[in-house]
């Protein structure tokens, strides 16, 4: 496909993709390279990196930081993708209805979207997770619930744009149902920007999840990168590696996704200027 070839000529996009693949490999291979649970205390507390078979050192309880990062990759990616999916589903729904029907519906939904964009998303996330108790489900739903406005705005803009196109007019004349028009005609054409914003949402989701875990609001039974940084905070004087490496992992992953997403955006929508909002 043209798009794929165009993407392969995009240097930073390709760099992002390669980094992303590396992260995925780490995540997939985790149970083979580190068969024991990352919660197992295999060494002495505060083992410096390189000693005792722990390449990235040991944490406060003597757990392998490298194992934590590898297994944490699965957690972060899974939560990131699931939350982004949730955000996309909600956002597309709101944006599509708003953009397609226009008028009062549009106004109300846009006000709602604006409201969600005004409130500090992270605080809302904290509030929701605290009230509904931290667990994998609540975290995914919460992150989805605070990340959808951007998707909604974009979807709405696309729907407004596409709705007045000829083929839609034609379909309307032919008496096709709303659902068919939306799902069959408009949505497929709006997929590119939605895909882009969706992949960028994975990045923000990963950052949000790590911040929640850092504050102690993550699922306490999941070893995630944010949790590791939080646990390492009080021992930063004695064991800097417990906080440093998980953060680097987040940085690489988020950077990879951002580069990939931007590359996607450039190849799929060359006319849309790169506004970071």
């Amino acid at each position: 496909m043209d798009a794929v070839r165009a993407f392969m000529r995009h240097p930073s996009g390709m760099a992002g993709l390669l980094m992303l693949i590396a992260v995925l490999i780490v995540a997939i291979s985790a149970p083979f390279v580190f068969p024991e649970s990352p919660w197992e205390m295999i060494g002495a507390p505060f083992t410096p990196p390189g000693e005792d078979g722990m390449w990235l050192g040991g944490d406060t309880l003597g757990r392998d930081v490298a194992a934590g990062i590898a297994h944490g990759a699965r957690v972060s990616l899974m939560i990131g993708i699931a939350s982004a999916l949730a955000a996309v589903v909600i956002g597309v729904l709101v944006g599509a209805v708003s953009g397609y029907f226009g008028g009062k519906t549009d106004m109300v939904l846009m006000r709602l979207t604006e409201l969600f964009q005004t409130v500090p998303a992270f605080i809302l996330a904290i509030l929701l997770v605290a009230i509904f108790n931290p667990s994998l489900t609540t975290i995914i739903l919460t992150i989805g619930a605070v990340s959808w406005p951007q998707v909604a705005r974009l979807t709405r803009a696309e729907f407004l744009r596409l709705r007045s196109r000829e083929f839609v007019e034609a379909s309307l004349c032919q008496g096709e149902s709303t659902a068919r028009i939306v799902l069959g005609h408009i949505l497929p054409n709006a997929m590119s920007p939605i895909l882009v914003v969706g992949s960028l949402t994975v990045a923000t989701a990963i950052l949000l999840e790590s911040a929640l875990s850092f504050m102690g609001l993550g699922d306490p039974n999941l070893m995630s990168w944010g949790f590791m940084i939080g646990a390492g905070r009080t021992v930063i004087r004695t064991a800097w590696w417990v906080s440093v490496f998980p953060g680097v992992a987040i940085l690489i992953t988020v950077l990879a996704i951002n580069l990939f997403g931007e590359g996607l955006s450039d190849t799929l929508n060359p006319r849309v200027s790169r506004r970071r909002a």
Partner: protein, 330 residues
């Protein structure tokens, strides 16, 4: 519209917006309390008060929890408009008092970071944009990409690691040095020293965003026809051209800054936890630990208001850049 009339209209619009948002969020809080697991009285009492049946009974009566929802909502909204944000049974104080005590520290941090990110970000971005394609520009792009991908709390910790633990230049935690005699001027310097790392950690990510945006904005504007024409004709001096470019380039940056205000405020909460900064962030963390829901709901409301004021600030900057912009055109 000129002068007083414009100002009056702006003020009125702000007020309406403020009240509308407060009412909407208060309604949202109302719904949340009733959607939460457990009965509303338990949620409002927080885990601390919920163990006392007398407190629960009192709450039920006071908040009329047996009355129809619409009546409850009305009373709730009325309370919020009279600045009654509920009571914390854990801390034994009204929520508004608790928040009021901690708000100044948070505002200090947030506003400084906001201004820093905007001013330094746009300056660096403009410089990079004007020097587009050079080595400096490339370094700039790489750095801003890295910063944008960095978790804000981790950045804070890394700064502590480098500047406090390793180099010993800056104090790692807190707001001020205690038990040392200081003149007021020294005190200001002391707080300033404590502020350096938290502010930089918080501002860095947004600085990167605004810088990158400014850069691409400058590049876009500099290609615009009338600029080229003016230059070619030698009609406008360099300052006027650059000034004009900057003003136009700033517009999208300021828009984005306004939209990012919510994220900045959220970041402040995390940073305060990292640096034990005595603001709302710390209060949030404790309230989460204690499941002190009235406090959490109150913080959510107040910080939303802060965001609106930040949006107002960016609106004003708009006006400064381009007095031709009419109200509400954002």
């Amino acid at each position: 519209m000129k002068g007083a009339a414009a100002f009056g209209l702006a003020a009125a619009t702000l007020l309406v917006r403020l009240v509308a948002v407060i009412l909407l969020i208060a309604t949202f809080n109302f719904i949340l309390v009733r959607a939460a697991p457990g009965d509303p009285a338990q949620v409002m009492a927080g885990q601390s008060g919920a163990s006392d049946p007398k407190i629960l009974a009192d709450l039920r009566q006071e908040y009329g929890l047996d009355k129809p929802y619409i009546v409850q909502l009305g009373t709730h909204l009325a309370r919020v408009m009279t600045f009654d944000l509920g009571y914390s049974y854990r801390q034994r104080q009204p929520v508004l008092t608790l928040i009021g005590e901690r708000l100044p520290a948070t505002l200090l941090l947030t506003l400084t970071a906001f201004v820093l990110a905007l001013v330094v970000g746009t300056t660096l971005g403009a410089a990079a944009g004007l020097a587009a394609g050079s080595v400096v520009d490339t370094i700039f792009t790489v750095l801003s990409l890295l910063l944008y991908a960095t978790p804000v709390f981790w950045l804070g910790l890394m700064l502590v690691l480098v500047f406090s633990v390793t180099l010993g230049w800056l104090p790692p935690f807190g707001y001020e040095t205690i038990n040392v005699q200081m003149t007021p001027f020294q005190k200001v310097l002391d707080i300033g020293r404590h502020m350096i790392m938290p502010v930089i950690s918080l501002a860095a990510i947004y600085l990167a965003i605004y810088a990158r945006l400014m850069r691409s904005s400058i590049i876009e504007v500099s290609h615009q026809d009338f600029i080229k024409t003016a230059r070619a004709k030698g009609l406008a001096g360099p300052q006027i051209v650059v000034g004009h470019m900057l003003r136009n380039a700033l517009v999208p940056v300021v828009t984005v800054a306004g939209m990012q205000a919510g994220a900045l405020v959220g970041g402040a909460v995390v940073i305060e936890t990292v640096f034990a900064w005595p603001g709302l962030g710390r209060l949030t963390f404790d309230a989460v630990l204690q499941r002190d829901y009235p406090v959490l709901l109150g913080i959510f409301l107040i910080l939303s208001v802060v965001v609106i004021f930040l949006n107002l600030a960016t609106d004003l900057v708009y006006r400064l850049i381009d007095p031709r912009m009419t109200t509400g055109a954002a």
